[in-house]
Amino acid sequence: MKARPVLLIVVAAFGVMLASALRLLVSNVDGGLILAWPGDPTILSIRLWSAIASGLVGGSLAASGVLLQSVMRNPLAGPSLLGMTAGAALGVAIATYITFLYSGTIVMHRAPVVAAVIGALASLGIVVLLASWRGGLDPVSVVLIGLVISVLCGALILLVQHLLPDGGLAFAQRWTMGSITQERAWGLAAGVGGLLVVSLVFGMWLGPSLDAASMSDDEARSVGVELGRLRLACLLIAGLLTAGSVALAGPIGFVGLICPHIARSIAGPSHRTLIVLSTLLGVSMLVLGESLVAAIRLPGGRLPVGVVMALVGGPAFLILLRKGFASGFDSWGRA
C-alpha cells in the first residue's frame, strides 16, 4: 500500500479515537451538557458499550456499503436498497410478535440476533434467487428486486405492528428509526466485531478483483474475475454485516450509502484502501451521532441515532452527489 492511503487510514483511525473519547466524556444532566470522565464504573460501562456498539454498527454498514456498491456497480446500492435492512427488521418484527403471542408482552430489551440474521439473509436469498433466474447476478435486476423486497418487508412490518396492542407503538419507536440497544450484549458485539474484521480482510484480499469487477461483465471475466462467486460472497458478507448491525441498533440508513462515497472522493476507487477508510468513517460517523444524541435531551426522551444519521446523511449525500458529478463520478452506472 502506498504512503498516501496509509496516511489517510491513520488519520481516519485517529478520528475514530477522538469520536470514541467524546462519547465516553459526553452526557446530559438535567438539560445541561457535561464533558467529564465518568467516575462510576457502571456509567463508564454504559458509555463504553454505547461507543463500541455504535462504532460496530457504523463500521458494519459502511463496509457493507462498499461491497454492495462495488459488486452491483451502483452508487445507490446499500444495505437498505437491497432489502437487507428491511428483511432484518421484519425478522425482528416477526420474532417480537411470536414472543407476544406466547408471553402476552412486547419484549424489546433483548437483542434478537437470530431473527435479524434470518431476516436479512432470507431477504437477500430471495433477491439473489429472483435475480439469478435470467442467469448470473445482473446488478440492475438485483437492485430493482431489492427495492421491491424492501417495500414488501416494510409493509409486512407495519402489518405486524398493527397486530400488536396499541398499534405496537413501543416496537415502532425502536424499529422505524434505529437506536443503539441499551442492553450490553458483549457477546453479540464480539461476534459483529469479528465479522467486521473478517470482511475487512476479505475486502483487502480481494481488492484487486473488486477493482477489476468495475469493468463490464465480459471484460472483468476475461481478465479472470470470477464474477458469480465474487458477487455471491460480497452479498453474503454484506447480509451478515447488515444483520449484525440491525441486531445492535435496528435499521439505520445513509451510513452504508454515504461513507463509501466520502472515502472514494478522498482516497480514490482502489478497494484495498476504500474498504478500510470507509469502515473507519462509518465508525466515526455513528459514534459522533451517538455522542450527539447523548448530549441533547428532548421532551420525548433520547433521540434515536438513526434520526440524526438521516437528518445529517440525507443533505450530505445530496452535496456529495452535486460535487461528485462535477468531479467525474458520472461514469457510474454507464459501464
Partner: protein, 254 residues
Amino acid sequence: MTLRFDNVSFAYHKSCDVLREIDVECRPGITAIIGPNGAGKSTLLRLACGLNTPRAGNVSLDRTSVTAFSAPQRAQRIAFIPQRSRVAMPFTVQAFVRFGRLRCSSSEGAVARALEAVELDDQRDRPLHELSVGQQQRAGVARAIAQLDGATGSRVLLADEPTSAMDPAHRLMVGEVFQSLANTGVTILLSSHDLNEANALADRVLLLSGDGTVAAHAERERVMEPGVLSRAFGVEMRRLRDQGVEALVPTRNG
C-alpha cells in the same frame, strides 16, 4: 497451438441459432472475422473467450475446452478486447491497464510497455472515463497486451472491432501492434466491419454469412475477392488500386 471450433452452434434463445455448425481451426497469426450485421462475429469471439457456452460442439485451445479452464488459467491464455472499454468507477488509465495483470505476476513493466505500445503513456494518470472513445479503445488494447505480456504457451487475442472509433493514424498503429504480436506466435481473431483493415492485416479470413454459417474460411487473398464479398454483403464490391495501394469499395449495382 490451435484454437478450434468443432461444429459449434450457439443460440441466445432456443428458437434461433446465432451460429450454426462452425467448424474452423485458427492458428497463430491474424484471422479476420467479417460478415454482415448479426452474422455472429461478436458471439464467436465470446465463445472463444469462454464467456458463453456452445449449445452444441466445442471450442478448444490445444485440445482443452476453453470452458474447462479455470478463470486464472483462461485469463493467462486468452485476452479479450470489447468494442469499448468502460469502468464504473474513476480508475486511471494505468490502473485500468493493470487490471489485465490480475491473474499474472505483478509487473509494472508490462503495464508500462503496453501503455507505450498504444501511445497512451502520457495519459496514464487520467481517469479512463475522461478519455475519448478512441482513446478508451486504445486503453482496452493496452489492457489486453499487458494481460498476455510474458505469458508462456498458447496465447490468444480476441478483438471485437477494436479500432472502430480510432483515427486513421492510431488504426494503423494498433494494426502494427497486432502484427508484431502475431509475429511472436499469438493467435489473433479480429472482428471488423472495415474490410480494408481486414484486408491489410489478416493472414486468413473467416467470412460468416447472415444465417450464422461459415461462407468462407481461407487465406486472405482467396476470401477478399470482390465476387466473394459481393455475395456475402449483398452489394457490389470493387477493388481500386493506386500506386501499390488497394481498397475494397462497396457500390450500388448500376
